[in-house]
């Protein structure tokens, strides 16, 4: 097909503004999926994606569209994650497109993610096509939404299609706009191959499947490709494009097309998102710009609740890693929790998703430690160390200075909540940068916040302080000096390494007090009194006492019915399985999570 009849585009939107629903309607209208096979959120095929209504992994699908001008077009719709954790992946997916449909909810207007993703699209020279969705809602105000797009983003929007993806209203207009407003791909089909990897996943039979956009040149099965970041070379076995439900092999992929490459690649680490694929026999001079290795932002310890399942956990992590090169993990040992892994994630959502997938798809019972960010500590010896695990935080006497990561955070909110949010940000050690009015009653609050302060429950706190009206987005800013201390927890006088965390000096006392209270609530009474203490460098700063259990006895002998007593013992054993024995104290798994919820 002539590349002038190809359109490569993605859909960007704030969560719940209707991205997946519009994608469903487009699939239906282009008859890519037969109606009887159609199901909601077709492209989000992971259970977690459907339940949470989010897109975690990028996907692509090729559509055929017979336009009103009588010509046939090939559309490549690339569905991208919308969440900040996956910003890098999003930006690479965008590079694979020439345009983006920007969905704005007619009743909500522009939200934090709308803006963040639109700016990403504009930075990547994409043509942005605004679409106003949910016009069927009684509270819809398409006029206002259009105004916001024009005023805030600065692109014309008055003639933007006004649609209802849910009801299927005006979807065709969107497709026509794709043809008229989004440019056809350019690229020299005869030049050396230059294809951008925007996603990859592991297929048990074919090895790694690379999703790519051919920018220059062409590729056919049998060609030997080179992945430029790693230099690794592979012979392609199969190439093709993405149908709605399966891969469709073709002979060649040409400049401007979106498709997949299978080359019996075993290690997904070789096929990094953002890397360039070229032909080993006739390589291009330089790789496409913008490739970078993404580093985890948030770490936590993951342990099997049942120590015997360590091997299963390792296998499960390795399998997840096959499909998720941004996950990192290495073995670690905790005195309290035994053998487990320190895992690195792109952000909190990413962490939650991995935990949930481990528990659901691999049927594992996990204990996770509080999420932590990475700190940079300069020692008195002059050496600088990076701390991934609070347990390894150096003794206060050895620290010359410490730095913690901070983010640029934007909060979009109705102006009535500004006071609440400022209070929250202040409390989270935020530095106010500026405040812009989006329209008469909505503002964009810009704060610099320590990442450490938002990894716990910032988003929940924000939602509760704004009745769910505020939206929030952030990007890494860098490291800044900070006065940090390590808070240790002692149970019955014994330190519990898995409960240690790093906190700003000024908040240590309050956190220590709250933590000991929480632990007291979460640890059941034991057979004897158990002190719960919080300490900084050996100095106790808070103490609570878990009182001793007073009565737990089967007083009667029930006429020789011994089995009754045995059943009771069985029950106790079951209960114990959900506990971790830390020295002489049995601690339920929830106690380890209580550190996460100190602010409710």
């Amino acid at each position: 097909m002539d590349s002038s009849n190809i359109r490569n585009f993605c859909i960007i939107a704030h969560i719940d503004h209707g991205k997946s629903t519009l994608a469903d309607r487009i699939l239906e209208l282009t008859e890519t999926v037969e109606l009887r096979e159609m199901e909601d959120q077709l492209l989000d095929n992971m259970d977690i994606e459907r339940e949470r209504g989010i897109t975690i992994k990028a996907r692509a699908v090729r559509l055929k569209y017979h336009a009103e001008n009588g010509e046939d077009y090939v559309f490549n719709l690339i569905d991208t994650p919308g969440h900040v954790d996956f910003n890098y992946e999003v930006s690479r997916s965008l590079v694979a497109c020439e345009g983006a449909i920007l969905i704005v909810d007619a009743s909500q207007g522009i939200e934090a993610q709308t803006l963040a993703n639109t700016y990403l699209a504009i930075e990547n020279d994409l043509e942005v096509v605004p679409v106003i969705n949910k016009i069927d809602l009684p509270s819809a105000d398409p006029e206002r939404a259009c105004n916001e797009v024009e005023n805030i983003i600065g692109i014309p929007a008055m003639d933007a299609p006004r649609i209802s993806a849910k009801m299927g209203t005006n979807i065709k207009e969107v497709l026509e706009r794709v043809i008229t407003d989004i440019p056809a791909p350019k690229g020299d089909d005869e030049a050396p191959l230059k294809a951008l990897i925007f996603d990859s996943y592991y297929d048990q039979y074919k090895g790694v499947i690379i999703y790519c956009r051919v920018k220059e040149g062409h590729i056919k099965a049998g060609d030997t490709i080179r992945l430029m970041a790693t230099g690794a070379e592979f012979q392609t076995v199969e190439i093709g494009y993405m149908g709605a439900k399966e891969l469709v092999p073709v002979g060649e992929l040409h400049a401007g097309e979106v498709g997949y490459i299978a080359a019996s690649i075993k290690d997904i680490g070789d096929t990094r998102v953002g890397d360039t694929v070229t032909n080993a026999a006739m390589p291009c001079d330089e790789a496409l710009p913008g490739y970078k290795k993404v580093n985890p932002m948030v770490y936590c310890g993951i342990y099997p609740a049942d120590g015997a399942k360590y091997g299963d956990l390792r296998d499960a992590l390795e399998k997840l890693l096959l499909n998720d090169a941004s996950l990192s993990f290495e073995p670690e040992t905790s005195v309290a929790l035994g053998f487990g892994f320190r895992c690195g994630f792109l952000g909190l959502l990413h962490m939650e998703i991995i935990q949930e997938r481990l528990e659901r798809e691999y049927n594992l019972d996990l204990i996770t430690t509080a999420p932590s960010v990475t700190y940079k500590v300069t020692l008195t010896s002059g050496e600088t160390v990076t701390i991934y695990n609070p347990t390894n935080y150096p003794d206060p006497g050895l620290i010359a200075s410490a730095q913690e990561p901070v983010v640029n955070a934007h909060i979009y909110t109705p102006s009535e909540f500004v006071g609440n949010i400022m209070e929250l940000c202040q409390d989270r050690r935020g530095t106010f940068k500026d405040m812009k009015y989006i329209d008469t009653n909505r503002v964009d609050l810009h704060y610099v916040l320590p990442l450490n302060e938002i990894v716990y429950d910032f988003f929940d706190a924000l939602k509760s302080k704004t009745r769910g009206y505020a939206s929030f987005d952030y990007e890494m800013k860098g490291y800044e000096p900070s006065k940090l201390v390590k808070l240790d927890v002692l149970l019955n006088g014994e330190p519990v390494d898995a409960l240690s965390f790093i906190v700003h000096e000024e908040k240590a006392y309050a956190r220590g007090r709250r933590l000991t209270e929480k632990l007291k609530e979460n640890i059941p009474r034991q057979l004897f009194e158990v002190p719960v203490q919080a300490a900084i460098g050996g100095k106790i700063i808070a103490r609570e006492t878990i009182k001793a259990l007073r009565k737990d006895v089967l007083a009667k002998c029930y006429g020789g019915d011994i089995t009754r007593k045995k059943k009771l013992l069985e029950k106790q054993k079951e209960g114990k399985k959900r506990m971790r024995q830390l020295g002489s104290v049995a601690v339920p798994q929830e106690a380890f999570m209580s550190v996460l919820k100190l602010d409710d």
């Binding site: 057979l527 007083a555 009667k556 029930y558 020789g560 013992l569």
Partner: protein
Amino acid sequence: MTGIYVHVPFCARKCPYCDFYSAVPDKNILEDYTQALVRNIREYTSKGVKADTLYFGGGTPSLLRPAQLDSIIRAAKDTFVLENAEITLEANPCTVTSEKLEAYLSSGINRLSLGVQSAVESELETLGRLHSFETAKKAVENAKKAGFENISCDIMLGTPGQTLSTLETSINSLLSLDIQHISAYMLKIEQGTAFDCDKIRNSCADDELSAQMYLKTVEMLVNAGFEQYEISNFARNGKRSRHNMKYWKGESYLGFGPSAHSFFDNVRYFCPGDTKAFITQKTQPRIVQEENPDKLEEYIMLALRLSDGIGFEKLTALGGNVNAVVQAARTFEKAGLCSISQDKLHLTPQGFLVSNGIISQLIDSAES
């Protein structure tokens, strides 16, 4: 030696806290039931089993006429070798008269267990008991007069409305009766009983008060010369309940009657709780619960109920890890929950109060 248990699942009135198998009897059922018991005992397959205890439990066994009890005892004597047997009858203070008591004695019954429960009238009423403390006192006096030298009374702790001071009154009243054995049970509200409701629950002692009541009871009884030989049982002059000791020492016992449990030839089994079926069937069915139960586990579980505790020699013989047990028990000892000597360990009254947790932990240690 084996113990024989005979269950009598009838009561003049069902107590609101009771979840034992029992019902108010129809007119002729007592005679039919007696015959069924006699038939079952007489047709018991392995003859010549040596037994030294016979225990009538209920229900209210004293609802049976003395002649009925006598025919059952005779059946037992004909079937088993009953030597110097302790023959216990659980009795309701209301149902025993001097004539009956004398008849019991002449049938061979030599131990009476009376469900006194409390000496405070309002508490007795809440418990749904038909007797007053005066009646109970009279029953004990009559029994002594008739010649009973081994009388036990039950008392309940933590019942609705009970306080530490009413408990003291009850215990002192009981002590004034000069009896040999006392069973003191903490009330446990069982699912499905009339007591299983919030109103009752809220009027009962909480765990803290229950614990105080229990410790108070132990203190008072020990001061009065009783030996606490089991979590809930106290005896004077060596008059432990020989029958109940069998349960705790892992010895064998044969149960007759619906819902009666047996442990014989290393099998734990019971007869289903269906009185009608028991009467009509030729012999009672046995539902096997466990064959060859884990001896180590049972030993720890049962022996720790006794003040004798667990012996390390026996523990080793059963394959238990004594070192691990002692190590785990040290923490409990520090908290005053058990006491460890050269060759054994036993729980203290404080330990008895939380024995479920201790037992399950020590079993884990022993099996490690």
